[in-house]
């Protein structure tokens, strides 16, 4: 509760997953939190500020979605603790706004009644009334308000409708909470609530034709079909990968041309020397080698946003439930694992929606094997080299698909073994998934989110990768030798010496010391591999970056072992790809896993296991391939 007149009152937004809490939170506070037409997008508490119509400041908390106040999963526990004022740094809310999906009142009202019984002033935000009315429901907000004893505000948060009315309902003094009708936390209370809700829906949410199929129902008939559903799912996934490979070529060309222009300008401005080499080979070669992948990464995030926002992601989770169960996981693990294709960090955090602690730990453990976007630059460099062709073809898309499939299937295999090892759960956990109605994507949020992710990538390229590129250039340049031969100069440099030290370790995988050094540098972030290779193999920025990358591929194709044998054979390239599929080269992920699993042992065990697995797999591929005569 408020401690002083200056402290703003706190209002909490609570509701079932996918009721539109985050959309309402963004509209109220002007924030830009991620929203999706999928449950479990909000995995922890967020806060912002809004003002009443009379200018009084209010603190708004967006709680993770939960079905009940007696729920076992970690994100639901956060919601319960926040309501009871048990979260450090967060006072007990002065008012609760229960956000409900008007077309699913029967299910959503159960939580509302539990909140009302807590005795906190409550306002009911009857969200998505447009969808409910379209589906044939006749809503009676006045009747609902009368029966529940709390103000009810019909609204459509995504279009900003009903926001003014909701703010009116948040005026001081807050509405007095009605008397608790049932004892909290008892089975008798739950049964009585269910009966009350059925009666209430008969009165206040009547369906003109209860058996009429909605548009979503009709679409689901095909999209959830045991055969056709899978065809659509696989086609959708393949389209995403194909688009990332082909559509992105156009903006990639623009970036490359701009980069080549800058390199040419620097060369015309500064005579030959260390500074010019640092700027052209170190900075432009290093940062440019990573920046060029920005369009592909933006496309990946765009497609994830599109699938979430349209409602298809939930269907994909439903379809995947059967597959997941073979790995000892449930459909609830689909979103965390799918998110990990973009970045393992949000994926690991999204595991909070999983009820079973053991299933959650297993999902966290295998999430980094879902190939994240940071691996893409490495794949884009190596795959065309493997096929001896330029970037952008269906064959490359197919190999990319196979790389993702290998990571995913390996993750499922390990999950299955680990799940068995951890044993069964103490209690029963059921897979409960919201299948939201199909909606037109919320373009504003998708594009804002894509820009935010793009901004993060550019910031990373402009800081960590820039710094590492400069240091790598220095390692490859100093100490200097009088020799004019590039190879001799590199061998004399610090980089050449480090490479020589680690070469015995990576040689059995088919790599020399130079590739080993590039792999070593990419333990900070995987995409650094490309810039390291550009610096190590002395690739100067060309007219445009496509030429630069082609020239790097040319250098790699021409690179030889001291005995004259080619360094990059199909076998060594596959070995390199396999290493990048499995190695956990992302320190932020390890830190987040330690936090989410509550144990550094678990995080370090995961790091050691994945790196060891990557090494052994690469070794088996290369040595096994050699034995078989490849």
């Amino acid at each position: 509760m408020r401690t002083s007149p200056e402290t703003p009152a706190t209002i909490a937004l609570i509701g079932n997953p996918n009721a539109g809490k985050t959309t309402l939170f963004n509209t109220l506070t002007g924030a830009n939190q991620k929203v999706g037409n999928y449950s479990g997008v909000t995995v922890e508490l967020k806060s912002g500020e809004t003002f009443t119509p009379h200018g009084k400041k209010l603190r708004v908390l967006d709680l993770p979605g939960c079905y009940s106040l007696r729920a076992p999963s970690p994100d639901e526990k956060v919601a319960v603790d926040a309501l009871q004022g048990n979260l450090p740094g967060h006072p007990k809310p002065d008012l609760v706004v229960c956000v409900v999906d008007a077309s699913n009142l029967e299910r959503h009202l159960h939580l509302v009644l539990q909140v009302i019984d807590l005795g906190i002033p409550t306002v009911l935000a009857l969200n998505m009334v447009d969808m409910a009315e379209k589906s044939g429901l006749r809503l009676d907000p006045a009747k609902l308000s009368e029966e529940l004893g709390v103000p009810v505000v019909p609204m459509q948060a995504s279009a900003g409708r009903g926001i003014i009315e909701l703010k009116q309902a948040l005026r001081f003094p807050f509405p007095t909470p009605p008397q608790a009708k049932w004892a909290a936390g008892t089975n008798e209370g739950d049964a009585a609530r269910r009966e009350f809700i059925l009666d209430l829906c008969e009165l206040a949410a009547r369906r003109a034709d209860a058996h009429q199929l909605t548009f979503s129902d009709r679409l689901d008939h095909w999209l959830l079909h045991p055969i056709l559903g899978w065809v659509v799912f696989l086609a959708a996934m393949f389209t995403v990968f194909w688009a990332i490979f082909s559509f992105a070529q156009i903006p990639m060309g623009w970036i490359e041309t701009a980069q080549g222009g800058v390199a040419g300008w620097v060369e015309s401005l500064i005579p030959e020397g260390d500074l010019r080499s640092l700027l052209v080979d170190g900075v432009l070669g290093g940062v440019g080698g990573v920046m060029v992948f920005l369009p592909q990464i933006l496309l990946l995030f765009f497609f994830i946003g599109l699938l979430e926002s349209s409602g298809y992601m939930a269907r994909a989770a439903y379809l995947m439930d059967g597959v997941m169960s073979k790995a000892g996981l449930s459909g609830k693990a689909f979103l965390p694992l799918f998110s990990s294709y973009a970045c393992a960090i949000p994926g690991v955090m999204a595991t909070r929606t999983i009820d079973s602690a053991k299933e959650r730990l297993v999902t966290i453990f295998v999430a980094p094997w879902m190939s994240c976007s940071a691996r893409l630059p490495v794949y884009f460099l190596i795959v065309p080299l493997l096929l001896h062709e330029n970037e952008g073809s269906w064959k490359q898309a197919l190999i990319l698909f196979a790389i993702y499939a290998l990571g995913t299937l390996s993750a499922f295999g390990v999950a299955r073994v680990l799940r068995r090892k951890l044993g069964p759960d103490a209690g029963n956990h059921h897979f409960l998934l919201e299948l939201p109605p199909y909606r037109a994507p919320q373009w504003k949020y998708i594009f804002r989110h894509v820009l935010e992710r793009g901004g993060s990538f550019v910031a990373k390229a402009g800081t960590i990768i820039l710094g590492l590129s400069i240091l790598l250039w220095a390692l490859g340049t100093y100490p200097k030798t009088d020799s004019k031969d590039d190879a001799e100069a590199l061998a004399h440099s610090a980089m050449g010496r480090i490479g020589a030290v680690i070469e015995p370790l990576v040689k059995p995988l088919g790599f020399d010391g130079r590739v080993g050094t590039a792999i070593l540098t990419s333990f900070a972030a995987r995409e650094v591999f490309n810039s390291s290779m550009a610096v190590i193999f002395r690739v100067e920025a060309a007219e445009n970056d496509k030429q630069t990358r082609a020239s790097l591929r040319g250098r790699l194709a021409a690179a030889k072992w001291p005995d004259g044998a080619p360094l990059f054979t199909p076998l060594s390239m596959i070995s390199l790809l396999v290493f990048y599929i499995y190695a956990l080269q992302c320190l932020p992920t390890t830190a987040v896993v330690a936090r989410e699993a509550g144990s550094w042992k678990w995080a370090l065990g995961q790091f050691a296991f994945m790196c060891g697995f990557a090494y052994v797999s690469s070794l088996l591929v290369f040595q096994g391939g050699k034995i078989l005569g490849f």
């Binding site: 967020k46 020397g273 500074l275 640092l278 949000p346 993060s456």
Partner: protein, 45 residues
């Protein structure tokens, strides 16, 4: 040592110093995941 080598070495030393300072300084209390993973999580206050 010519002027280009001098400036390039200065940039390298400055970069190394920034990295070392960032690695050794005491971590601040972080809200959110604290990294630029783009997970969209913002500071609570």
């Amino acid at each position: 040592m010519d002027w280009q080598t001098l400036i390039a070495s200065g940039i390298v030393v400055l970069t190394l110093t920034i990295f070392l300072v960032r690695l050794t300084r005491r971590p601040r209390g972080r809200h959110g995941c604290g990294h630029d993973c783009g997970c969209g999580k913002k500071s609570i206050e």
